[in-house]
């Protein structure tokens, strides 16, 4: 699959899943806009690694939780490139708390970054995709449909993101834009180490039929497929990447014998 000549914006692509997606696209020939908010060094490293694959990288800082910063991000892309072919809504944040401790600030912070940003980015991206079509893929998580400890706000935000994906898919279809999402189980990233430390996620290898945890490259492979012409007829779907965990009984029954 080739993405030669395409331009992809991957939000939050300094680290983890976003970085893996950026590198996958770059390996297929796409130029990459590397967006970050809090980790400049990581973003610049991703950009260097993208460029080492022979394509262009543009690093743009923007807090996607801030609508004005999204405007600036897309103004910069519009002014510099005048177009966009792929948007990956990957940037995410969240506050891990029991329901009793969720306050308005935590709710709005999470929703603004995990859901509102995806709507605003899709609106802006659709304009830059005008007349050329495009692909939008958002990164959800299994917390959208399964209950994880202290994951309420993020889980609800991801459920909303998956609903948004369906609405975007239908409304943007006449404009030649394919919209989908992926939902992964726990992915081995720096962010996951935090969740391990906080006791929010346990080692899931033993309850994963595929025998190992999901790695960022697993996600990048599926996202790249969804952004290919081969996936043209997949619209508004959330593809689960979990090594079979959610369809097996192993998670309920404990270790697989």
């Amino acid at each position: 699959m080739s993405l030669e000549g395409k331009l992809a914006l991957v939000t939050g692509s300094g680290r983890g899943i976003g970085r893996a997606i950026a590198l996958k696209f770059a390996s297929q020939g796409a130029d990459i806009v590397v967006n970050f908010f809090r980790h400049r060094e990581s973003a610049e490293q991703t950009a260097r690694d993208v460029e080492a694959l022979g394509v262009k990288a543009e690093v743009i800082r923007a807090n996607v939780g801030d609508a004005a910063k999204i405007d600036e991000l897309f103004d910069m892309i519009g002014n510099k490139f005048g177009r966009l072919d792929i948007l990956i809504n990957n940037a995410a944040s969240g506050v891990g708390r029991p329901i009793a401790d969720i306050d308005v600030k935590a709710w709005e912070w999470t929703m603004d970054i995990n859901v509102r940003a995806c709507l605003l980015c899709a609106q802006k991206a659709a304009k830059l995709m005008e007349g050329r079509g495009g692909k939008i893929v958002s990164i959800s998580s299994l917390g959208s449909r399964f209950v994880l400890p202290n994951y309420t706000v993020v889980g609800v935000s991801k459920a909303a993101l998956e609903a948004l994906t369906r609405y975007l898919a239908i409304e943007l279809a006449p404009r030649g834009i394919c919209v989908n999402a992926i939902a992964a189980s726990a992915v081995e990233t720096e962010a996951l180490k935090f969740y391990f430390k906080e006791g929010l996620v346990k080692d899931s290898r033993q309850v994963t039929p595929a025998g190992r945890m999901v790695i960022p490259e697993d996600v990048a492979n599926v996202v790249a497929f969804l952004c290919s012409e081969e996936a043209f007829m997949i619209r508004g779907q959330t593809v689960v990447i979990d090594g079979g965990t959610s369809v097996g009984v192993f998670a309920l029954a404990g270790k697989q014998e």
């Binding site: 809090r38 980790h39 400049r40 060094e41 800082r61 807090n63 506050v95 600030k105 935590a106 912070w109």
Partner: protein, 81 residues
């Protein structure tokens, strides 16, 4: 108002603590700032002073004084985002 006072105002507004309890020796925990409060304070300070404070640097702050010193140095350097 000097930089220290402006940052105190920002932190007090976000954490809703009395500004008078914040000293250079105060840890974020003592100011009752959780991780979200700290990120929001960093963002507010960045916008107020037109600087960038990467997480890699912010994670080194042991107390309020470290935060203030970092911002003072950045502002003195005239660093812009």
């Amino acid at each position: 108002m000097n930089i220290e006072e402006q940052i105190k105002d920002i932190l007090a507004r976000i954490t809703r603590v009395d500004k008078s309890i914040i000293t250079r020796q105060s840890t974020f925990k003592e100011i009752k700032a959780d991780s979200l409060d700290v990120v929001q304070a960093l963002v507010a300070v960045e916008e107020t002073f037109g600087i960038e404070i990467p997480d890699e640097e912010a994670q080194k702050f042991q107390n309020f004084g470290d935060f203030v010193t970092y911002v003072e140095n950045k502002v003195a350097q005239g660093q812009k985002v």
